[in-house]
Amino acid sequence: MSDVVVVDGLRHQYGDRVALGGISFKVPTGEIFGLLGPNGGGKTTLFRILTTLLAPTGGTAAICDHDVVRERARVRTKLGVVFQSPSLDIHLRARENLRHSGHLYGLSGRDLEDRIEQSLARLRVLDRADDMVKTLSGGLRRRVEIAKCMLHRPALLILDEPSTGLDPGARLDLWRNLQELVQAEGTTILITTHFMDEAERCGRVAILNRGKLVVTGGPPELKSKLGGDCITIETDEAVTLRDAIEARFSCITMVVGDAVRIETPEASSMMSQIMESFGSRIRSMTIGKPTLEDVFMHHTGHRFDGDAS
């Protein structure tokens, strides 16, 4: 299968500020690919470049073998774009919004009406087709919006933080719909998110931090690469404790805020030894399987708090 998205050495600067510092990745057909990163990490810039709304200052990006700058118009026909801020007109009915969008993609007549029915049915919002969008809940609006973006059967559905403003139930529902689209239509999906649990649902994830791709891979693969378990020690003297632990055990340790994190294959035996030696300096100690948050911290050296500092 060929790659739907090919990004090669992509750079972007706003004046002196580097938003993207040369990133490369590929997304094969039929994959759900997640771009995970804190706000300000470069996700939105990348999104704008891939959706042809921003020309990069360096490197290339191609959708279905078409360059996003030189072959903008061709790329646009291949894309279904769900923006972070809803792009539905709330003064129009759901069906009218879809009809309007269909016209923008050159669809009309019977063919368009059929597609509208199918698309709304697939997202299970056909019963609300003739409701004004302003009367629909946030979750329903998202579904209508995705239905709108699927009208012209895009090769790539690209979504920017689609769960913004959705309650947990609606988020779960959104993901079920996305997975169905991949299975039923073979659509490739690229999604940006700063939610760890969402990234976990992707086939592969690229972690974007300060304009750089930190690591790319499937969530299980990324987590298993960390090796073993993670111990988190909360303490008032993180740096001195880390130095002491490193002097005693040869292992990867890291200070994150007022906590020391240790990745180790023998967590339980190590925990008891740490407790014996440094117990008085420890507020709490927990052990867990690595999460994507651990993957992020492992590769960036700082906590993932949704905002880049």
């Binding site: 706003y14 072959e71 972070q84 003064h91 129009l92 016209h103 009309s108």
Partner: protein
């Protein structure tokens, strides 16, 4: 869009039509806009004509022309301008809400986007102005077929220019508050200094020159010439006014397309 060598954008008329249609549907569903754009100039005109007009004598004005009659084309120009403003102000929200982003990400030429919006707003403005024109019979304006057709043409021309101008301003604005500031500072003087409410001939020297430099003045002159063409009142200099008005429309729309095309390749934040 000069970089797009392969023409895969969809034809221009379908996107233009659908954007035009959206303007119509939205207008019908927002009653307050109808009241705002139509009621204001009507009230304005009645107050101006009956209140101020009674205590004023226009310098050099035709004895047979009452102030109500004199300011009638001005009231129509006001309707055109208010509607152009009300319709284009929505562009700011469209861009913020993501609606415009959705349109920009579609394979649609920027000309279609601009044209759809501008024609939509023009239609609304002219539609309202036409209804108002019918009130003109109450002010003693005889609507011949020629008067009607000429007025219609001029109204389209003025509305098209003003909507393009409004779009151009709104496109660069980040908030509707900013638009209001520009409106008060720029668009209102443009209307007041257009000869809509008082003729340039009687104004102070500086005002006179400002009015002569104001493209709107020529639109109002042209409108007055068109409306009163059936009344035997001569409006001198209409060919020049027509030339300026046409030039104004072409330049505004050209600037608009240039802005929309250029900005879509840069950051829109």
């Amino acid at each position: 869009m000069s970089n797009d060598t392969n023409a895969v954008t969809v034809g221009w008329w379908l996107p233009t039509w659908t954007l035009w249609r959206r303007e119509m549907v939205r207008f019908v569903r927002q009653r307050s806009r109808l009241i705002g754009a139509f009621g204001t100039p009507l009230v304005f005109w009645v107050i101006m004509g009956n209140g101020i007009g009674r205590s004023l004598k226009l310098p050099g004005a035709d004895e047979t022309l009452s102030y109500l009659e004199y300011s009638f084309p001005g009231a129509i120009a006001s309707i055109l301008m208010f509607t152009a403003i009300f319709s284009t102000i929505s562009i700011i929200d469209d861009r913020k809400d993501g609606f415009m982003q959705g349109v920009l990400a579609a394979p649609v030429s920027r000309m279609s986007i601009a044209l759809g919006k501008v024609l939509g707003a023009t239609t609304l403005a002219v539609g309202q102005a036409l209804v108002f024109l019918c009130f003109g019979t109450a002010a003693g304006i005889h609507l011949h077929v020629v008067t009607f057709l000429a007025s219609f043409g001029v109204m389209v021309l003025i509305a098209f220019s003003l909507t393009s101008l409004g779009f151009l301003i709104a496109w660069r604005m980040e908030s509707t508050q900013g638009f209001h500031a520009v409106m008060n500072l720029f668009l209102m003087p443009m209307l007041i200094l257009s000869g809509a409410f008082f003729p340039p001939s009687g104004a102070a020297k500086a005002m006179y020159y400002a009015m002569m430099l104001n493209p709107m003045t020529y639109g109002v002159t042209l409108l007055r010439a068109a409306i009163y063409s059936g009344n035997g009142i001569h409006a001198d200099g209409w060919p020049a006014a027509l030339a300026v008005s046409l030039g104004f429309a072409v330049i505004m729309f050209w600037l608009l397309i240039r802005t929309v095309t250029r900005e879509s390749t840069q950051a829109i934040q």
